[in-house]
């Protein structure tokens, strides 16, 4: 089951859901809006090898805005720190964002229960779109789980600002043959 906006507010006030800072006017009927932090990351390598740590370049979004390239990709983040130990969060674009041709995640909407931090937005723009710090770009829903809860303790816990992929640290690579 999905929480209503008033229920999200109640759970924030009861410290069961974290949304910090919390702005009641960002509540929607079934979600709460997330705003864009002023930092984006771009990968430096022309070809990504997920087995290797990737260098990124940090760019500040000026108050006058940053134009995203058509079919360009970069990482942004929410200003808000979000999470819950009882509900499963999911991230979605606001429909206004999507109507402007911008993805805020790249097929990764589901957040682990127990994860607390800023949300890294996977910004894929289909048009030359200008984004601004603080704009309401995304929204978060909260879902009641069924079953015993084991909290997230993974590599993105406690994120502040956008975090690049840390997949190169995953232990499963050891079971795959090395290239070459």
């Amino acid at each position: 089951m999905i929480l209503s906006g008033p229920e999200i507010r109640r759970q924030v006030e009861n410290d069961v859901i974290t949304v910090t800072p919390f702005e009641p006017e960002h509540l929607n009927p079934n979600s709460i809006d997330l705003t864009l932090e002023d930092t984006v990351l771009r990968y430096c390598n022309p070809v990504i090898d997920p087995r290797e740590e990737q260098e990124v370049q940090e760019v500040k979004i000026p108050s006058t805005g940053l134009q995203l390239e058509p079919l360009g990709f970069c990482l942004g983040s929410s200003r808000e720190t979000v999470g819950s130990a009882e509900f499963v969060p999911m991230v979605h674009a606001k429909s206004s964002t999507a109507r402007a041709g911008l993805f805020v995640h790249v097929t990764a909407d589901l957040i682990d229960i127990g994860s607390v931090g800023t949300v890294t937005f996977q910004l894929f723009s289909t048009l030359p779109l200008t984004v601004y710090p603080g704009m309401r770009i995304a929204q978060m829903t909260f879902w009641r789980p069924q079953g015993e809860i084991i909290l997230y303790s993974g590599k993105y816990q406690g994120s502040k600002g956008p975090r690049k992929s840390m997949i190169f640290r995953d232990p499963f690579w050891q079971s795959l043959p090395v290239h070459g």
């Binding site: 789980p145 997949i167 079971s175």
Partner: protein, 187 residues
């Protein structure tokens, strides 16, 4: 309601969810990590006027594939996944989304009852290497309300990347009922 990792593990043990092969180290707090299968095809539109899709199987280079941004590929999950009791949602994982690789194009919802290797719609926003056998996405499982309908679909009977039958009028299209091959290539 969405199942927690512990509930997914219990449902797999009870036979209510199929994840084959299954490993407890790939269980997340509220999802399960699936891996990339060994067969990837680039979908190429060819011809003037009304181009038709052809599917070119990629050749691995030293155990990996190079996916180019702006191109579109079909792959598949290594695992057979599905459930007659729960609804499966197939998505990526944030470690892959953070690298700009879509693994599915706004079609996360699986039909209850379909158990198979799922076709992945791979759209890279950056040039990226992928490795068969690597963890590439997640599935979550959801409770239903109401009587379940029996699944009688077509895609759900296949364990290899299956092409779109969007432009095939019949339920059993002769061309698309074959797994993907390079145009003119024999199986």
């Amino acid at each position: 309601m969405i199942l927690t990792g512990a509930a997914i593990t219990r449902a797999v043990a009870a036979g209510d969810i199929v994840i084959d092969p299954f490993a407890t180290e790939r269980v997340n707090p509220n999802s399960y990590n699936y891996r990339l299968g060994h067969e990837i095809h680039e979908v190429v539109m060819e011809g003037e006027g009304q181009p038709e899709a052809s599917h070119v199987r990629l050749a691995p280079d030293g155990g990996r594939y190079l996916l180019r941004k702006g191109r579109f590929y079909l792959g598949h999950t290594l695992e057979r996944i599905g459930s007659a009791h729960y609804v499966t949602s197939l998505i990526g994982r944030s470690s892959i989304g953070r690298l700009g690789l879509f693994v599915q194009l706004s079609a996360n919802l699986g039909h209850q009852g379909a158990v198979h290797r799922w076709t992945l719609e791979l759209l890279p926003a950056l040039d990226i290497y992928v490795y068969p056998g690597q963890v590439i996405g997640q599935v979550s499982f959801w409770n239903i309300q109401g009587a379940p309908a029996p699944y009688a679909g077509w895609y759900g009977r296949h364990d290899r990347p299956m092409p779109s039958k969007l432009h095939q009028p019949s339920a059993e299209p002769p061309r698309a009922s074959q797994p993907l091959t390079r145009t003119g290539e024999s199986q």
